[in-house]
Structures are given as C-alpha cells and as structure tokens.
C-alpha cells in the first residue's frame, strides 16, 4: 500500500502559492500549513481506514474553470419552488440564483471560525482554495423559511477538475431555517465542499442534503456544526451519486438541551463507495443526538458508517443513539460499520446498533401473490426500508424532493 499520495498535495499547494492574496490570506495560509503537514489522508489513518482516496489522488490537479454559459445548466437544478442560491464550479451564479438578499448573503465565507483543520486536512484544502461562498444569517426569532443551495460541478469531457465551495449558516437565538442542499455535476471531478453551521440558543435548522454527483465524480464533504443551549439541528443526508463520496460531520452540542438528528441514507450500486462519518461531541448536559443511517446496496457497492460519540464529563443526562441498517440487494455488496463511544460522564444513555439483511423473501412473496411484479415489489420494500428515516423530515417540499430523487434513482439504475 502506498503512503500518503504526496504529489497531488504538492500540486494543490502550488495552486495556492500561485493565488493572489485576498482578505482571507491569513486563514488560507494557516490552512495550507495544516494541509502541507497532513497531505491527502491515507488509509493508515484510523478515520480513513475504510475509504481509500487513491483513485481520487490519481486525478490531475486542475481548478474547475468558471462556466460562463450557465443557461444550459438550468435543467440540472432541483425542481423546488423556493429561493435558491446556485454555485457552479465553486462560483456564485447570479443568473441561476433567485436569491441574493444582501442582508443575509455575502460573496465569500472563508473565515474558518468553526472549521478545525487539525483533524480535517480536506477542510484545510477547501479553506486554501475556496472561491465563493455564502453566509446565511437569520436574525433573532425570525423564521427564514426554506432556502435551496445548489452546487454544480462541470468538468469538460477529457479534463477532470477540482472544486471547493463553502458556506456558513448562522442562526441567531430563536431563529429558524430550512435548507435544502443539492449537489450534482457532469464528468470527472472532485468536489470538496465545507459547510459551517452555528445555531444560537433555541435556534432550529432543518437541513436536507442530497448528494447526486456525477457517477464518475468524487465528493468529500466536511460539515462543522455548533449548537448552543436548546438549539435543534435536524439533518437528513441522501447520498446516491459519485463514484466515491464521503460525508463527514463534526458536530458539537455546546449548550444544555441541544438536540441533533443526523439521519442519512445511501443508495449505492455498481462499484460506488459511500462513506458517512460523524463525530458528535456532547459537551453540555441534557443534550440528545440521534442518528439513523440506512444503506441500500446493490452490485459491488460498498458503504461505510463511522459514528463516534464523545461525552464530556460535564455532559450528564446525555441521550445518544446510533443505528445503522443495511439492505444488501446483491451478494457482492458490503458495509463496514464502526460505532465508537467515548464516555466520561456517568449518567448517560448511549446506544448503538447495526443490522444487515437482504430483502425478506416472505414479504416479497406476499406482494407478488397479490399481483405486484417482482421489480415493483422490491422497490416498494426498499422505499419502506427508507420510509422510517424520511418520515422524520418535517419540511414538506424537502421530503417530496427526497422521494422524487429516490424514485428517479430507481428508474435510472434498473
């Protein structure tokens, strides 16, 4: 096994060195130092044991060029009637966006107040090279409604590209917002986004993320979230695109009574690899974190769920729950599941579990005996398997988009 691939890391650093200094130079330079020290993470690292980035590191290093002719991309946008912010190849696209309220949106959000580069070299890489970003701020006790964030990455036919978009969501005390995030693209590329979320006391963010990247693409997303007292973060992440994807969340429950739901579903076929990694730090008492991760795996697909819960000494009455469920549609599909609990408080309730199974032949027979053809019966059972997680998505348009995306996946894949 080769060591950390050094050459692409050096190429990325060269890109940074060639970059004109901007007002975020300090932060970028510090990130560059962290990235130079760590490089692109290899499987020798515990956190990367199950996900091998070598195919990604083999791509030539080239920044995604600005796309001027964006009108043709309109068909790639999710069909949802809500204000929309669109990035194409990491650049804000004014013509595709329908939302640019100056009060809560500004051009760049690279200031890495939450992003820790220490254990996140890919976040450091993003900070080094991110172009545009969004800062979304909702003032105290305001309900910001629903906002759609779209990231499109477009590679030309023969030239793989690298893209690093970034956004930050700040909800003031008592504020609320629903964000639907959708990423997709064309061709061979590496999309390496970073998101930062700060929820003040009693704020509530609904966050539905759909990763529908090109099947030849790669996505490594890192999300940092910080919740103060009584804040609620209700996330659902659907991963069904990309040749290799990793969705990493580092979430801190920093104030008493904060609640984080971080459900996810991965639908993978062929030789796709999908990794959901979470690190939840319970730093305050009486917080709850709940994660249900559902995997539907066909072909030779491989899924990874690594969930780590850290309960600090002060975090009494912590309620932590993790469940990983996999439905294997093929004998060659695989899942690696690694729960980790690190508990320093004595009065806590933490549980985790994992199930792996195939479709139940008795359920299949029951449906078919009622006249439902095998293919449709399979689809109904898969939808039923996912239903429990999707039902928790409170935002109606978001849930509808999830359901449509899953249906479309099925139509395309089979």
């Amino acid at each position: 096994m080769s060591a950390t691939p050094a050459q692409p890391a050096a190429d990325f650093l060269a890109l940074f060195d060639a970059r004109a200094e901007d007002s975020f130079h300090e932060a970028r330079a510090s990130a560059a130092r962290a990235f130079a020290a760590a490089g692109i993470p290899g499987r020798r690292l515990e956190a990367w044991k199950y996900t091998d980035l070598r195919p990604l590191a083999a791509l030539p290093v080239r920044l995604a060029p600005e796309i001027t002719d964006v009108a043709r991309l309109a068909a790639m946008l999710p069909a949802i009637a809500a204000p929309r912010i669109v990035f194409v190849n990491g650049k804000f696209s004014e013509s595709l966006s329908t939302f640019s309220d100056g009060k809560i949106f500004s051009g760049l959000a690279a200031a890495p107040s939450l992003a820790s580069h220490e254990n996140a070299p890919l976040a450091a890489l993003n900070t080094m090279l991110a172009e545009d970003g969004a800062v979304i701020r909702v003032p105290e006790n305001v309900d910001g409604g629903t906002l759609v964030l779209v990231h499109l990455t477009i590679a030309s036919v023969d030239a793989p590209v690298f893209s690093a978009s970034r956004y930050r969501i700040d909800l003031a005390p008592g504020a609320a917002l629903n964000v639907i995030e959708y990423s997709s693209g064309q061709g061979v590329y590496w999309n390496n986004p970073v998101s930062e979320i700060a929820l003040a006391e009693g704020a509530r963010l609904g966050h539905v993320r759909i990763q529908a990247e090109s099947v030849e693409g790669f996505q490594t997303a890192t999300l940092f979230a910080d919740l103060l007292g009584g804040a609620r973060y209700e996330a659902f992440t659907l991963g069904l695109g990309a040749r290799l994807a990793r969705s990493e969340t580092q979430l801190r429950l920093a104030g008493a009574g904060a609640i984080a739901h971080m459900d996810a579903a991965q639908l993978l076929a062929g030789a796709q690899h999908g990794d959901v990694t979470t690190v939840v730090a319970h730093d305050a008492p009486g917080c709850a974190s709940r994660q249900t991760v559902k995997n539907v795996l066909d072909g030779r697909a491989r899924a990874v769920f690594q969930g780590r819960i850290e309960v600090a000494r002060a975090a009494q009455k912590t309620d932590g729950y993790q469940m990983s469920q996999a439905l294997l549609l093929s004998p060659d599909a695989e899942i690696d599941c690694k729960p980790e609990l690190e508990i320093f408080a004595d009065d806590v309730k933490c549980s985790h579990g994992a199930t792996v199974g195939a479709l139940d032949p008795e359920q299949m027979f029951y449906l078919r005996a009622r006249g439902i053809p095998g293919d449709l019966a399979r689809r109904m059972l898969i939808r039923a398997f996912l239903a429990e997680a999707i039902e928790n998505v409170a935002d109606v348009p978001a849930r509808a988009l999830l359901e449509d995306t899953i249906d479309a996946w099925w139509e395309q894949g089979r």
């Binding site: 359920q363 027979f365 439902i372 039923a384 429990e388």
Partner: protein, 259 residues
C-alpha cells in the same frame, strides 16, 4: 375449474405432498380439512407460487392455464388469490398504497384501466363498509400491529378488492370471534356465483355453517384420504380424524385403514 393432478412436493428433500388429486369445478366451493402438519398450507403456498417448495411431480390447471408455469404475480393476474394463514407484516408500506398497487398491477396485467386515487378510495371504502371494518385500516402499515382477527379481515378485504375467480383461504377462520367469522364468511359468500370457486381450508365446522361447501376433502399425510359432501365435515366434528381411521399425529403418509 381448478384441477390438481398427482401433485407431489417437498422441501429440502423431505416430501410433504404425496400425490394430490383434486378438482374444483367452476362455481363450487370445496373445503379441505386435515390434521396439523398434513400439508394444507404447503398446498396453498404451492398453488400461489411460493418458491420455497420443490414441486416433484404433478400439474395444476386453472381454466386451462398451467399454473405451475407462472410467477406468483402472473397467477394473481390469472385470478388466483391466497388468503394467508399467517399474513405477512410490511412495515413502512401503507395499506391503501399496497391495495391500490396490487389492484392496479392486476388490472394492468388483465388489460384493464388503472384506478386513480379517488376511484380507488371509493371502491376501498365500499369494501370496508361491507366488511364492517374501520376506515383507519387503510392508513395503517400492512398488518403491522394488527390483531390476529384484523389480519384475517385484512386478507378478506384484499380478496374483496382484487375479486379473484379462484380463492384459497388458509385457516382464515382461526382465532376469529363469531362476529368476525360471519364477516369473513360474508366476504366469501359475496363473491360466490357461477364464475367463482374457492378452496376453504379449516379445522372447524363452524365456518362451514356459514359457507356451505359443495364438497369436503380430508388431507392427511400429504394426500387426500377422503372426499364427500358437507356431511363429511359433521362426521369429523363428531368423531375427529380417528373416526375416519386417520392417525392425526403421524407425519408423512399415514393411512391406518383408509381404502
């Protein structure tokens, strides 16, 4: 007309059915009685196309269609319906969605127009009313958290909606109180007519008080050992299988003195 000729079947090399011959003419309802483990459910599963059993011999024809050559869904489209002895729970699948998907799949296969949600709801509500079932039955997940009786009634609801030409009811009366039993019997009787036939598997005469069978067959050790009119069920009710000379405890072929 359903014709079963010399049907033998087993599981993992173990024989269960040992040459069943049975004909149910169109328009007739036949009852099958028999001790536990005699192969009644195996027969009904094989008729419906369960892939867990190996058919080792014989044939089954429904109105000239070779049933054993068809997939389970094709048998349903051909008009066969099995009310399961143990209905399967489908967590995450709503009953209304299940029923409508099944009905439309069958209608599609038969070249009939599909029903939209409104048309379906109208039909389903009428069926629920006829079966004295609560409407919230449609909102619940299929059989999940249903009582034994509710599961059986849900089978009859499916039958009423799919309107098969041949129904197999596998102990649909077991565990029902007398009111539920009447509802189940009513569901079968509502379908009765010159174009409908059924095989009613039961242990008890009391169901046959409400669904009068044209013929009664006794299955034991994987074979039909006796056939007769409705009086055969009464005979069984009085004297048990022993009175017919059938050893109810034996597995496999067991004909103490059956001729």
């Amino acid at each position: 007309m359903l014709e079963i000729r010399g049907l033998s079947a087993g599981i993992e090399g173990k024989p269960i059915l040992n040459g069943i011959d049975l004909t149910v003419p169109t328009g007739e309802v036949h009852a099958i009685m028999g001790p536990n483990g005699s192969g009644k459910s195996t027969l009904s599963y094989i008729l419906a196309g369960h892939e867990g059993y190996d058919v080792t011999g014989g044939e089954v024809w429904l109105d000239g269609v070779d049933l054993l050559a068809l997939a389970p869904e094709e048998r349903a489209a051909a008009g066969l319906f099995l009310a399961f002895q143990y209905p399967v729970e489908l967590p995450g699948v709503g009953n209304a969605n299940f029923l409508r998907t099944a009905l439309n799949a069958v209608r599609r296969a038969r070249g009939e127009a599909e029903l939209d949600a409104v048309q379906f709801l109208k039909l389903a509500r009428a069926a629920l009313r006829d079966l004295a079932m609560a409407e919230d039955m449609l909102k619940r997940n299929v059989n999940v958290g249903f009582s034994g009786g509710e599961k059986k009634r849900n089978e009859v609801l499916q039958m009423a909606i799919l309107k098969p030409k041949f129904a197999v009811l596998d102990e649909t009366d077991s565990g029902l109180d007398i009111d539920a039993l009447k509802i189940v019997a009513g569901g079968v009787n509502a379908l009765r007519g010159p174009h409908f036939s059924a095989l009613v598997i039961t242990h008890y005469q009391r169901l046959l008080d409400h669904i009068t069978p044209d013929r009664v067959h006794v299955l034991a050790g994987g074979r039909i050992l006796r056939s007769g009119g409705p009086e055969l069920a009464h005979e069984l009710e009085r004297g048990g299988y022993a009175a017919l000379g059938i050893d109810a405890t034996a597995q496999g072929v067991s004909e103490a003195n059956a001729a």
